[in-house]
């Protein structure tokens, strides 16, 4: 109880810093996820009908997701120097697989009869993509986006180790001052707010998912 109280005191006392770090963390996440979504959906559309390219794209994306975060972050430092940039590049690579995979699965699952009838009515391949295939795959794509977002929020907390910002600064700050007053509170703030940010973004995205998916597709 005492811990919770002092934690809350710390949050109130550092309100501006917490807000700023949260916003920075959110900004990193949102930028990364938007770029990853555009890239992965486009890539998914390109490779979906080609089994070999599809398998290779997915295999490569899963290789990225397997490489430990700190290592992948570090690999970009020689290229772009320390800061948010190497972190965002690595996070971008991480965020690809869930979206790419769900895009491909979503497009795979569109019933051939639906595509056949669209073609039979004279829809061009672009019309079939925009009006039929993507809208049908959309709920699953959005699920992928949500997973990528949670992943990105969590991993972005170590951006601080390569000189980036975000809520990791509170964790790092606590670590360097460990034993001194408020150090543990600082770590808790960084951790809890990261989770809260993830949940908040997930709630927002689930709303977006609901609003942008056709009522006809709900189970």
């Amino acid at each position: 109880m005492d811990g919770l109280h002092s934690w809350w005191e710390y949050v109130v006392g550092h309100g501006d810093d917490v807000l700023e770090a949260t916003l920075e963390h959110a900004q990193i996440t949102v930028v990364v996820v938007i770029l990853a979504t555009v890239f992965s959906v486009a890539l998914g559309v390109c490779v979906q009908s080609r089994p070999t390219s599809k398998a290779i794209a997915l295999a490569i994306a899963s290789i990225f997701l397997t490489i430990p975060a700190l290592a992948l972050f570090a690999l970009f430092i020689p290229l772009v120097g320390p800061g948010d940039n190497p972190a965002m590049m690595a996070l971008f690579l991480y965020a690809i697989l869930p979206i790419l995979r769900n895009t491909v699965t979503g497009l795979d699952e569109v019933s051939p009869a639906v595509v056949e009838s669209a073609r039979g009515m004279g829809m061009s391949s672009a019309q079939r993509l925009w009006r039929v295939r993507l809208p049908l795959a959309w709920p699953l794509i959005m699920t992928g986006v949500r997973i990528s977002t949670l992943l990105t929020v969590g991993i972005a907390a170590i951006a601080i180790l390569v000189g980036g910002g975000g809520l990791g600064t509170f964790i790092q700050g606590g670590l360097t001052r460990l034993g001194l007053p408020n150090s543990v509170e600082s770590v808790w703030v960084g951790t809890v707010f990261t989770v809260l940010l993830g949940l908040a973004l997930d709630v927002v995205l689930s709303l977006v998912q609901r609003l942008t998916s056709s009522r006809g597709l709900r189970a």
Binding site: I63, P68, A71
Partner: protein
């Protein structure tokens, strides 16, 4: 790690019911899995070769590169770090299995079954939990050392195994259980002879995910005095030596990819025949 994508996917598709097939082997993904089995070792071999040549070109052991040399010395640095790294990952993965699988079994039976959806929801949103923060929290509570790292890793990696155990068991066709019970099997017998064998692919996928997470998180063990290959990456950052950074990062990547590939092989060969 990739299997982390499926449970939500399955949830979206079936509302509340999970099915084994969608979790274990999603539509159109068979080919991908086969490619992963072949592509991954090729990639690992290529990356290993690059690392080998790069490492040798650095002239480790010569006076000219004293900083780099001391940070990258095999006998005194890289080898013990590698051993520490793998030890941490192995212990935490083993403990995760010992805790999460029985817990998953328990949560899909009788009374506790009712809280299963809540547990799954937490497991899914737990993906936003920052490993870094968790590690430091345990450091503050338990002090420095490898033991702290292992405990933190177990807590962090328990979720995917727990989730996949529950989803895997839940996905077993009810009619098979009926049939088993109808032949006079006890509940324990249906669990051991029908449910668990059928859920194995999904559970193994979860264990693979946990193992990859553990290897990744062991990279951060250095922060709380647990050692591991993270030390080399961190030295590279501190010394501002790209060579040290790269060797550290690539080595960690190689370790993760190699063990992930072992996991992929295990997934493939632990499949019950006929599925």
């Amino acid at each position: 790690m990739s299997e982390a994508v499926t449970p939500l996917t399955a949830r979206w598709r079936h509302g509340r019911k999970h099915s084994v097939s969608t979790v274990a082997m999603p539509t159109g993904a068979q080919l991908w899995h086969r490619y992963s089995l072949v592509l991954a070792p090729a990639f690992i071999a290529g990356l290993g070769l690059v690392l080998w040549y790069y490492y040798n070109s650095l002239g480790v052991g010569t006076i000219a590169q004293i900083q780099v040399s001391s940070a990258l010395d095999w006998e005194t640095k890289l080898k013990p770090q590698l051993i520490q790294h793998l030890t941490i990952a192995a212990w935490s993965t083993l403990l995760v299995i010992l805790v999460a699988v029985p817990l998953g079994v328990l949560l899909t039976r009788g009374g506790p079954r009712r809280i299963a959806p809540a547990v799954l929801a937490v497991a899914n949103s737990g993906q936003a939990l920052p490993a870094y923060g968790l590690l430091i929290i345990f450091l503050a509570a338990m002090g420095q050392g490898g033991r702290t790292v292992v405990v933190a890793l177990v807590v962090y990696a328990i979720l995917p195994v727990l989730r996949n155990t529950m989803v895997g068991l839940d996905g077993v066709d009810r009619s098979m259980l009926e049939a088993g019970r109808g032949m006079g099997m006890t509940r324990m017998q249906t669990l051991l002879r029908i449910e668990l064998p059928l859920a194995v692919p999904v559970i193994v996928a979860g264990i693979r995910t946990a193992m990859v997470l553990n290897i990744g998180m062991a990279t951060l063990a250095f922060l709380i005095g647990g050692g591991g290959l993270g030390i080399t990456i961190s030295s590279g950052l501190k010394l501002n030596q790209d060579a040290v950074l790269l060797v550290g990062a690539i080595t960690v990547a190689l370790v993760a990819l190699t063990f992930d590939w072992f996991g992929a092989l295990a997934e493939r060969f632990l499949h019950p025949r006929g599925l």
